[in-house]
Point group: C2
Chain length 260, copies 2
């Protein structure tokens, strides 16, 4: 009998070409997880993901689902997690949990909220312990100004200014529910980590990284919050700031209706 399984997956994006399976020989997170499923049950199954991440983007709580016919044998979420992780030992990918869900559950279409965090280490010295895991910005960022600018992006807008040209979304109109800037101590010498929390039902391709690249301009004093509002209103990608690198971006969590 067939069951739908929901997986929560953690991965380091650095060694992969991104979530999506590509041609043979290209290492993707999807490919690696599907290979683990195949090694476990000898079936070539396709998994459906909540949010495809680009090359180098990390996840602490990515969600995917797939349908498995495991015959009459009993299979618990604990068993499945353990079995998949046994085949993921050499990868920078872990299944944190597996749960049997209703056949109506859909990782992508059922998602009602996603939380991303973008991490910036803001100090003179490069972060020696987190290469590829954070963006390093030397110039002291004005997080008060960044928060004022972030507030101008909240709500329902046409986000074309922050949309990658390859974006496949039908509409550029999205609702941004949260864009918070937080600073925490990173070392004992005054170095800070700036965390940008972005939350909403869905995002355009590169939207978070494009918003972060723009907010960084504000933090560096090159742009004002008004400049950001004007860029948003222009609905023109060429009026937005640069795309921040993938290194600092983490998909933290995906929420579904029944869970809220």
């Amino acid at each position: 009998m067939q069951h739908r399984w929901k997986l929560i997956i953690e991965y380091c994006g650095t060694p992969y070409s991104g979530w999506q399976r590509q041609e043979e020989g290209v290492r993707s997170v999807q490919g690696v997880v599907e290979d683990a499923i195949h090694a476990f049950c000898q079936q070539r199954l396709t998994i459906h993901v909540a949010g495809r991440t680009d090359a180098g983007v990390h996840a602490r709580g990515q969600v995917a689902h797939f349908d498995l016919d495991y015959g009459d044998r009993a299979l618990t979420g604990y068993d499945l997690t353990k079995a998949l992780n046994a085949h993921l030992k050499t990868e920078a990918v872990s299944v944190i949990s597996a749960e049997a869900v209703d056949a109506e559950f859909h990782a992508r279409f059922g998602a009602v909220n996603k939380l991303y965090v973008y991490r910036i280490v803001n100090r003179n010295a490069k972060p020696a312990l987190e290469d590829g895991k954070v963006l390093h910005i030397r110039r002291d960022l004005d997080i008060g100004a960044m928060q004022l600018a972030a507030n101008r992006l909240l709500g329902n807008h046409d986000f074309t200014t922050f949309r990658a040209s390859e974006c496949q979304a039908k509409s550029p109109v999205k609702t941004l529910d949260r864009l918070d800037i937080e600073a925490v101590a990173y070392d004992d010498e005054g170095g800070r980590e700036i965390r940008i929390y972005a939350e909403g039902r869905s995002f355009l391709h590169h939207q978070v990284r494009n918003m972060v690249g723009t907010l960084a301009l504000v933090g560096e004093g090159k742009w004002t919050p008004d400049d950001v509002a004007a860029a948003l209103a222009a609905c023109d990608r060429t009026k937005g700031g640069p795309t921040a690198p993938p290194d600092g971006l983490y998909l933290m969590r995906v929420d579904y209706k029944a869970e809220l």
Copy 2:
């Protein structure tokens, strides 16, 4: 004119053979920093460190000093930090700060307090994002029991039970001022990070890792706090628990008299 400089150094221990400079061709943190100093001023200088760390052990706030004759030219801590970091770009080592200090300052002999943290990820799935940066323990750890056991190690004792056979300290008697166990959420699925904070003026070789390996036995229910007290009293390394791997250990901070 000669000046003494104090450096605060951050590094990832994974790619190095440890702090101490070894024969040609072996990559050590000391060697990498001394090479950066040489590249900066064309002088082969020796740096003196607060606490030599073993292969794979990390530092967020290692301290070292060296003496530099830079002629009549002005040199600020900011300049020196920037110059050394420019020569450390390809290394997992960063100089967080450089400060001109009195000629009496000594990174090792002047240290009055050191703080180490040992990080354990305690959940079923391996930590995909922090390979080499944490110890992974699957079995649910009883941190209440671990803290009771840790309390039995506090104070002035002969720590022979937790001392590596290669240890060069004159005496096995040390004062342990703090050994705290803390648990924080690591993911949204119940996974925890256990942090063990160890603080004191100085430690024997492998002392923290041997204490952590022993406390882990208590957390797993294999040992009681009384067993730990008995092991300590035995003054016999063979009565202690195993040496925890270097991956989870971080030298966080070194304090000096004038700073307290």
